[in-house]
Symmetry: C2
Subunit: 500 residues, 2 copies
C-alpha cells in the first residue's frame, strides 16, 4: 500500500484514518499545522477534529499555529466547533475573523518570520503536535512537503508527535523542489548563507526522527484555489505607475537594469500589479518572495522571470491544474523554503529586494495600516509585509485610492492602526499616481501623498486637514481632535466625505 | 609637525586652518560629518561654517548627515546661522529641535542602520564632502577614528572630498579599537560574518584614497560629556523589575544563564537600568549595542561585562577622563564598529539580543511612541531603537509611568505616533511593574499594561477607556472619538486627568 509514497517501510504501520489520528489531539494542546496561503494545508485531520468537538461533550479547545492562512474552510469549521482558543500567526477566514473581532478567539498577529523563532526559544509553550501535509516519506523517514513549506519543518522538529497527511493529489514530482534549512541554536548560530535567490542551502526533505511520526493519514484532495480577482483598470494603472518608477530608477543608476529580486504580497492588487511586468521592458527578473501566485507563473511562461524563490504556491484552479501537471517545466526555476528563510530580514536586506505589498490605507505622512478595518477590526493579519518592508531596498505599498464605491478614502490624515510606519515606507502607489517618500521629511511627504495618491474627490478634505494641522506645528503636524474625523463621518453618514 | 599623528608624510601638506577648510563647503552641498551621540564629532570646521554663514551675505545652506547627535552646540550654531536645510538621521539639540518643529529644517528621522545604505544606493544624492574626526592617519593614509565610528567610514568612502579633524585631545591609544567593515555592493553582497560579539571582521582604520583628503585641521578638544542623569528611585525600580524578569526567563529555560548579549539605548533610563545589573546575579555579560555609556564601564569595572561592542563611547566628564587615560585596561574588552554593523538586523537577529530602549509613551495594546511629543513635536529621533527592537530576541521598552509631575501618563489608550508597533514590542516596564506581551492578543495585553505598568493615578481612566472601547469590538478595541481624549484634557487643563 502506497509503497511509492511511504517509502520508509517501517512507517507503513502508522497509516490510519483521519478520525483515529484526530484522537491524538487533546484539550489544551498546542498544535502546529502546515498550510501557507491556502497551499499545502492538511485536509482531513482538522476537519475530523471539528466534527469530534461538535459531536462530543468534552471540551476541546486548542492553540492552532500555522504557516499562514488555510483553505478548505478549516478555520471556519474549527471556529464553528469552538475548537480555537488561540490562533497565530495569520488567517483569512470570514467566520474566524468574526470570532477574533468579537473576542472569542485570541489572535496573535505576528511577522511570519518570527513564529518559529519564538517557538524555538520556548516563548509560546511546548508544541504538542504537528499535522503536516506530505507528498511522500522517503526511505529514511524524510518528509517531502507539498505546495508550501511555511512553518512545517520547524513544527515537525519541535513537536512531540507528528501526524502526516499524505496527499495523493499532490504530485510526487514535488519532491526535490524544497530547500529546508533551519537556523542553528543561539549562541552558536551561523550566517544564513543565501546570496542569490536560487541558492540551495539545505535538504530537500524535513528530517525528523521517524518514531515521532504517530499517524499517517492518506488523503486525495487538491489545494483550495486562490481567491484573487483578475486585474482591472485600476490595478493596471497602479502597475503602470510602478513600472514607470522602476524604469526611472534604472535610468538614474539607482537600480540595475535587471532589477533587484522582487517580492509581492498575497492578494489581488499585488498579483495584478506583478502581472503588469509582462508588458514592461524588464527581462531576466527574479523573485524572492513568500507566495508564488498566478502572476509569477505568467511571468515565467512569458520568459520574464528566470527564477522564483517562495514558501508556497497558491494558484487559481486552472493554473493549479496546469502547473502541477507540468512541474518538470518549472523545476529548475523554483524553490520552496521555510517561511522563516523566505521572510528572513538577513536575506531581505542582503539581496536588496523590491518589496510590493498591499495597504488597507495610508496616511498623508506615509504610515500604513495593513490589518485593522476602521482601526479596530482585524482583516487578515500583517503576514510577511513587515518582514519585507523593513529590510527591502525599496518598500512599496499599493492600494486603490478609494474603497466602498468611493465612500472610503484609502488616503487619510492619520491611520488608526500602524503596521508599517514612516521609517519603513518608501513608496506609496494608487491608481492616481505614485509618491516617492525616500529622504523626505513628513511635511514634504504630506503634499506628495495628497496630490499624487489621493483620489481627487478626497483631495480637498485632506488639504484642509493638513493646512489646519500646520497651525499645531511639529515635525508631523496633526490636529488630534480631528485626526479621525473622516472615520466619524463615515460612521455617521456612510461616507468619509460626510455631508459635503 | 604632528609626525606621530599624521604618519603619512605626503598628507602633512594638507594641514590648514578650520576657516580655510570650511571654505570647501559650498551652498547646496550634502555633507557627512562624524559624530554619534556626542562622541567623535568634529569640533572646528562646523563651527567655522556657522561663523562664515553668519558673517557672509551669500546663502549657505546644506544637507547635513551625521552618525547620530552631535556635541559642542554644533547643531545649535548651525541652526542659528541658518546653515541647515536638511538634517538626518538623528539629533538631540533644543534649538535645532525648535527649528525642525516649526518646519524651518527638514528632518529625516531614520533607522540608524539605514542612512549609508540609502546613500550607497544613490537615494540621498551625491555626498559632496565628509568631515571626519581622527585620532591619527597611518603611513598609508588610513584614518583612525576616535570615540565613535558612526557613519564616518561610509561618509569618507562615498564623499568626493574629505576633511580630517585630527584631534590631539583624543588619545593615540584609540588606534586598534575600531573594526571597520562595509557591506559589499549588491548583487554580490556576502553575509556579515559576526557570530560572536567580540568578532573582528574588518580593518582597524578607514581606508580611502589619500588624495581624496582635501584638508587636515588640527584640534585639541574633548568630546562633550554625556548629559544623562544619575539613577533615581524610579529607575532603580525599573531595573529591579527587569532583572527579576530575566532571572525568571533563565529559570524557565528561555534564556541561557549568561544571558544573550545586551543592547541599551542612549539616555538616562536605559543607562540607569543597565547600571542595575551591577547588583544582579548575572555574570560574564556581553553587549552588542550602539552607544557605550557610563553604565557599560561600571559593569566592566565590576567584572560583570566581559565584552562590549558598540559604535560610540559617550561618557560623563569624569568617566571620560578616566577611560581615555586608561584605554589599555579596556582594549581587549571593547570594539567600535560602523553603526550599520552595530545596528544591523542580520547580526541582531542572529545573536538574539535583549534590547532595552526608552519609550516616550506606550499604549495599552503595546504600541510605542519614541519620538513625537504629543504626537506632533519631534524630540530626538527613532535612532537605533527600531533596528534593535524589530530583530531582538526580546525587545523591552522602559519608561517612567508618569511625566511632568504626574500631569502626563506615559501609558495612554492610543499613542498618537507609532515608532514600534505591537508586532515588535515584547515587554513594557515602568517603575510600577512589567508587562510581558509575548504571545498575547491585544485584548490580553491591554489589561496587563494597565494593571502592571500604568501609574495607579491613571488606572481608572485607562480601565474606563478600555471598557468603553470594548463596546466597539474588534481585535484592538478603540473608540476613535475618544482615543486622544487624554491629550485634549492635557491641553485644556494641564493634566491628562482633566477635571477629575
Amino acid at each position: 500500500m502506497y509503497e511509492d509514497r511511504v517509502r520508509c517501510a517501517a512507517l507503513r504501520s502508522k497509516i490510519t484514518t483521519a478520525a483515529e489520528a484526530a484522537r491524538l489531539v487533546r484539550n489544551g494542546m498546542r498544535v502546529g499545522a502546515s498550510g501557507f496561503t491556502r497551499a499545502g494545508d492538511t485536509k482531513a485531520v482538522p476537519i475530523e477534529l471539528a466534527r469530534r468537538a461538535r459531536d462530543e461533550s468534552e471540551p476541546l479547545r486548542i492553540t492552532l499555529m500555522t504557516g499562514a492562512s488555510l483553505g478548505h474552510d478549516i478555520d471556519r469549521m474549527l471556529t464553528e466547533a469552538g475548537v480555537l482558543e488561540r490562533r497565530l500567526p495569520f488567517q483569512a477566514d470570514p467566520t474566524l475573523r468574526r470570532a477574533i473581532n468579537s473576542g472569542e478567539v485570541m489572535f496573535v498577529d505576528q511577522h511570519l518570520s518570527e513564529t518559529v523563532e519564538m517557538l524555538r526559544a520556548n516563548l509560546l509553550g511546548k508544541l504538542d503536535l504537528a499535522i503536516i501535509e506530505a507528498a511522500a516519506i522517503t526511505e529514511t523517514g524524510g518528509i517531502v512537503p507539498t505546495t508550501s513549506v511555511g512553518n512545517s519543518a520547524s513544527f515537525a522538529i519541535l513537536a512531540e508527535k507528528v501526524i502526516i497527511e499524505l496527499n495523493l493529489a499532490q504530485p510526487a514530482a514535488l519532491e526535490g523542489m524544497h530547500d529546508i534549512w533551519i537556523p542553528g541554536r543561539r549562541p552558536r548560530r551561523e550566517p544564513l548563507p543565501i546570496v542569490h535567490v536560487q541558492d540551495r542551502i539545505g535538504t530537500p526533505t524535513i528530517e525528523i526522527a521517524p518514531e515521532k511520526i504517530a499517524a499517517i493519514v492518506i488523503t486525495n484532495e487538491a489545494d483550495s484555489p486562490s481567491t484573487v480577482l483578475p486585474a482591472d483598470e485600476e490595478t493596471a494603472l497602479i502597475a503602470g505607475h510602478l513600472i514607470e518608477f522602476l524604469q526611472h530608477e534604472v535610468k538614474r543608476g539607482r537600480m540595475p537594469a535587471q532589477l533587484p529580486p522582487l517580492q509581492a504580497g498575497i492578494g489581488t492588487i499585488a498579483n495584478a500589479v506583478l502581472s503588469g511586468f509582462a508588458h514592461s521592458p524588464f527581462e531576466a527578473l527574479t523573485m524572492y518572495s513568500e507566495v508564488l501566485q498566478d502572476s509569477t507563473f505568467d511571468l515565467i511562461d512569458a520568459g520574464k522571470i528566470v527564477f522564483a524563490s517562495g514558501s508556497s504556491i497558491t494558484l487559481s484552479a486552472p493554473r493549479q491544474a496546469q502547473v502541477l501537471a507540468e512541474l518538470d517545466r518549472y523545476r529548475d526555476k523554483l524553490v520552496l523554503r521555510p517561511q522563516e528563510v523566505s521572510n528572513h530580514p538577513e536575506v531581505i536586506r542582503r539581496l536588496g529586494l523590491i518589496a510590493l505589498n498591499t495597504a488597507l490605507e495610508c496616511d498623508i505622512y506615509g504610515n500604513v495600516n495593513s490589518t485593522h478595518v476602521g482601526g479596530t477590526h482585524m482583516m487578515n493579519g500583517i503576514g510577511g509585509s513587515g518582514d519585507f518592508a523593513r529590510n527591502a531596498a525599496c518598500a512599496i505599498f499599493a492600494t486603490k485610492s478609494m474603497a466602498k464605491e468611493g465612500r472610503i478614502s484609502s488616503i487619510v490624515p492619520m491611520v488608526p492602526h500602524v503596521d508599517h510606519n514612516e521609517h519603513d515606507v518608501d513608496v506609496i502607489v494608487t491608481e492616481q499616481g505614485l509618491a516617492d517618500l525616500r529622504g523626505l521629511a513628513p511635511r514634504e511627504r504630506a503634499t506628495l501623498v495628497i496630490e499624487h495618491c489621493a483620489h481627487p474627490r478626497y483631495r480637498d478634505v485632506l488639504r484642509e486637514y493638513y493646512r489646519d494641522a500646520l497651525a499645531y506645528g511639529g515635525q508631523t503636524p496633526h490636529d488630534l481632535g480631528n485626526a479621525f474625523a473622516m472615520y466619524t463621518a463615515y460612521k455617521e453618514t456612510g461616507s468619509m466625505l460626510g455631508h459635503r
